[in-house]
Amino acid sequence: MSDENQPIDFLGAYCPLPLTHSEQIVIGHGSGGRLSYDLIRSVFATHLTNPLLEQGDDGVALPPIDPEFEIVVSTDSHVISPIFFPGGDIGKLAVCGTVNDIAVMGAKPLYLTAGFILEEGLPVDVLEFIVSSMAKSAEEAGVAIVAGDTKVVERGKGDGIFINTSGVGIRPRSLHISGRNAKVGDRIILSGPLGEHGVAVLQARGDLGFLSDLQSDVAPLNHLIAGALEAGMQDRGNAIHTMRDPTRGGLATTLNEIARQSNVGIVINEAEIPIQETVISVCEMLGFDPLYMANEGKCVFIVDPEGTDRVLKAIRADRYGSKARVIGEVVSDHPQKVLLKTMIGSTRLVDMLSGELLPRIC
């Protein structure tokens, strides 16, 4: 029997403290409670600071815009696998993708929102790297991330991380940029070589069994596009009639969309289309066509012939446009179809991408 009067030796607080879960994402990070708050403070707020985001309310009130401008909105979800690839990551892609979608509308992108769907088990330092990458790209593009949301799904129900970004930009009311505006005689400018993002991601998946030093072209194009629009200004409207970024589906799909929207024919010259040798080799081996490979830092411009030289010069002056070329023109023949003049003097149809790109057997 122990003596009930014997003083108990208290060792300190016995109540078990909850783990802080600061190393990997758990369901509680999406609960809206303490863990969510900590995550926002330690990861998101560290990298994405601006007065609008710091208001901390359920939504954000944006400053009024000049009545001579209209508002352009776009949204894009990013589910890329793997989340890191040569030349970028899902965060950079999520910012650049939406910035570019706003920019090709002829608008100046100003604000982004970001929605994160995280899978249980994602290391927090991976998330932090991705958020810091988003911050860098947003800074380069000159846009502010003004609202955000985080949800967590159970392990196995996501692929590490999905990011949705929505963007807001402003465009002068007088500027008419649309896929419907391509006119017969217009020239087609491509801002640089094709297929680098598509091939870089294929490589990063690691199932090709070979590697090259190729990097994804993912980049914010809004400054390049602003320069092109300035150079394109003329007495009546802008020399640039249409802009579009050839992402999934590649150049072939983008040109087909424009040909259909504007009810015109398009002819491109194989000899003028810039493509890196590495991209050609990988595509030849796998039976892919670079015309269908994804790009994340390229833009197609459809331009009045009189303004083409000025616009091309402005694009080439930008760091992302030094290899820009005039690759073809808009014609009245074969409306809604895109034809390619091959280097050996024949002509063939260039169709939209049908389904997923599949490697050929031999």
């Binding site: 179809k337 091959t342 280097m343 389904g355 490697p359």
Partner: protein, 372 residues
Amino acid sequence: MDTKLRYGFRDTKLVQAKVRQIQKLVTRPWAIMEICGGQTHSIKKFGLDQLLPPEIEFIHGPGCPVCVTSLELIDKALQIAALPNVIFTSYGDMLRVPGSKGDLFSVKANGGDVRVVYSPLDSLKIAQENPRKEVVFFAIGFETTAPANAMSVLQAEAMGINNFSLLVSHVCVPPAMRAILNSPSNRVQGFLAAGHVCTVMGYWEYIPIAEEYRVPIVVTGFEPLDILEGVYRVVRQLEGGTHEVENAYSRLVTYEGNQAAQKVIQQVFEVCDRKWRGIGTIPKSGWKLRDVYLKFDAEHRFDTHSIETQESPLCIAGLVLQGLKKPYECSAFGTLCTPQNPLGATMVSSEGACAAYYLYSRNLESPKMNHV
């Protein structure tokens, strides 16, 4: 790999010079069959048929393994791939080939574990990493893919990997050429033999065919200049009345071929009758696993119950594969049958004749196609 393709075997001046040589040579119409789907793809992609004189007609041969794999076997693949404990691996372009009901993509969408691989050795790795699963590789192809498939079986045996098997649908070129030449409706007067097949097999097998059927055969590559050189040599023989086997792909092909590869094929496979989709059974035209390797045969391992197959009644792929009809002569071409919604296998693979016509030239020839 030579990365200067664009400036070597696709050189504009050399191509045009070769076309002029052919123009000078031709005095009357000739029907030439390119055996291989890869060559069909090149002809349409580079528009070579537009450059050549109208006397030269290409008849597109049955050399697309995706297209000729029989419907029964596709249906078996769909059954096996849907089994709960199976990882079904395949070259990418098989995923869209329609079976009687659905394709491998739809099996995947319904929860089947279907994965695209680039080589059977990748599947073997998957089998190693998933010892509790059955890993099946869809071993289709001509002589070109056979060595790697045979090697995967030898490696599986050497490494004691027992959860790996092949669903085999190997086909061989020479018996198909004989079947075409034996057909009463045959129109083929000369052949471009498939360069890649010959890198493995050499061209000794073609000498008796050229002799027996008095038909010129030229081993031909896949770049524009390769194909034009093949056409030039076939036409030269046809105009001169000779019927020999020539090698126009000597930078890769030798008379005897790759002996080591042939030895591995012989060790693992034996000749069998094989059903070709759209054509029917051609005697001794395929390879199956030898009895000693029966345990690696997916047909043996899985009980695929009897399957009733159902081809689309509209599809004329059989006539296209035999060179009796052009794809655009089909009533469904480009309307009911497209690469997004194929009725037959020739519309699926980019090497299939129908898909090549659809992708590269559907508004460039034949008045009908303007409506597509």
